[in-house]
């Protein structure tokens, strides 16, 4: 009994954000996209956890941080299935799904090896032309980067 309570204490957060249902292999990707490696707050994360819906999943819990939806949507390419839960005083106050934004900055590499972004220090920028199949058009070389050849930076 004592043990279970301890576990609960570790895993529940008083105030903050829980990002659940992240594809297990992309947890570190999400950490990087949200710059959590530079965050000073308590962060708990787990990966290769059991998920009824997806087989395996990852989860990240960040204390005392609440994200703008714009910021959260940046993770949509790495974790399209992610659900976001905001917690205050141990109570769930908001639940939402991430949504693919209209433009993507900095997250993905352009597929075109001759693109200026792959040859000089230029931050990549894409127009999202297909939110379902995920097709990104480079705002520099205009070539299309698709889900199958997407590489995260």
């Amino acid at each position: 009994m004592e043990k279970t309570r301890k576990e609960l204490k570790v895993s529940a957060i008083e105030n903050g954000t829980v990002i659940d249902h992240i594809p297990a292999k992309n947890v570190f990707q999400v950490i990087r996209i949200l710059n959590l490696d530079e965050c000073q707050e308590q962060i708990l994360f787990g990966t290769n956890l059991e998920s009824k819906k997806y087989g395996t999943k990852g989860i990240i819990k960040v204390s005392n941080r609440f994200f703008e939806s714009e910021e959260l949507n940046k993770i949509a390419l790495a974790a399209p299935t992610a659900s976001i839960i905001e917690i205050r005083n141990f109570q769930v106050i908001k639940k939402m799904q991430v949504e693919v934004p209209g433009t993507i900055t900095k997250v993905v590499k352009c597929v075109n090896p001759n693109c200026i972004t792959n040859n000089e220090q230029v931050i990549t920028r894409f127009r999202v032309v297909d939110k379902i199949d995920i097709k990104l058009q480079c705002m520099y070389c205009e070539k299309m980067t698709e889900k199958s050849n997407m590489v995260f930076l």
Partner: protein
């Protein structure tokens, strides 16, 4: 259009394109005007393209501007590893406008984001070459009296030819009917065809030239490049199937004109040059007027 970059043809609205074509007409009537006296135009050619560079420099000179720049990056600080950003920022201290050609796709768009002076894209890799498109439009309007409702045939490499892609997209604003002649492996890509379909315009595809030539008001010839083929025998076969000669022109409409972005290899036989339908050398000349119009309007003197 003062200070407005030209990176891709669609950066300019149809109205702005028309204004440039009108202005180019004015420069054709009076090519030497001292309206850019005191201005400095930089031509930065990170890869050589003699034709385009000379055309820009001629345009600048005829308007009284001074020209600075380099003709290929081998002889400049770029070879020492200077970034594009640093080159652009440095040159912008010396020039009022930068004309650039660069081997990387997207380089001109990036330069326009970091540059305090306007940029004209004279070709970024395989991506865009908007001044070519404008001079093609000018040549079409001049020879046909209009850009509206024309039958335009494109022949050759429609898959990789960026001049074909840009011109096709620009012409979709003018109710063009497209006749697309190419070998099966070099057909117009579907993303370009999408633009035609979106405007509810018609296109027809052919593998030989005869029928398209009979229908066309404009016959736009392109080069088929050897490096596009894995099989050299296939290249030889295809190359010889798309050669324009005098006999083929006998079935053409009287008003028809032959265009080509130049340089040609063998796709137009020299016997065609003397035919009144041959317009490709005049087309190159028109490039100077279009570039005068661009320099004058972006620098705000017209």
């Amino acid at each position: 259009m003062k200070n407005k970059n030209l990176i891709a043809i669609y950066d300019y609205t149809r109205e702005e394109q028309t204004r440039l074509l009108d202005l180019a007409e004015e420069f054709e009537r009076e090519p030497v005007q001292n309206i850019l006296n005191g201005y400095v135009v930089a031509t930065l050619f990170f890869e050589p393209s003699t034709r385009t560079r000379l055309s820009f420099e001629s345009a600048a000179n005829r308007l009284g501007a001074r020209v600075i720049g380099f003709t290929d990056s081998a002889s400049s600080s770029v070879k020492k590893g200077e970034s594009l950003k640093d080159t652009i920022l440095t040159v912008s201290n010396y020039a009022d406008i930068i004309v650039m050609r660069h081997p990387r796709d997207g380089s001109a768009r990036y330069a326009s984001e970091v540059s305090p002076v306007p940029i004209i894209n004279a070709g970024d890799g395989a991506n865009q070459h908007p001044t070519q498109t404008l001079l093609d439009m000018y040549s079409i309007r001049k020879t046909q009296g209009t850009l509206e409702n024309l039958q335009v045939a494109f022949v050759g490499d429609l898959k990789y030819g960026r001049t074909v892609h840009s011109l096709t997209m620009a012409l979709t604003n003018y109710k063009t009917t497209f006749h697309l002649v190419s070998p099966g492996e070099l057909k117009l890509p579907s993303y370009v065809k999408t633009h035609i379909k979106e405007k509810d315009l018609k296109y027809h595809q052919y593998t030989n030239m005869d029928e398209a030539i009979r229908k066309a008001d404009i016959l736009y010839m392109t080069r088929i490049q050897k490096e596009r083929f894995s099989d050299p025998i296939e290249y030889e076969r295809v190359k010889n199937a798309y050669i324009l000669n005098k006999e083929l022109l006998e079935n053409a409409k009287e008003n028809m004109k032959v265009l080509h972005p130049l340089p040609r290899v063998n796709e137009i036989s020299e016997e065609v040059d003397a035919n009144p339908m041959a317009y490709y050398f005049r087309q190159a000349e028109n490039g100077v007027y279009i570039r005068q119009a661009l320099l004058a309007s972006i620098l705000g003197v017209k």
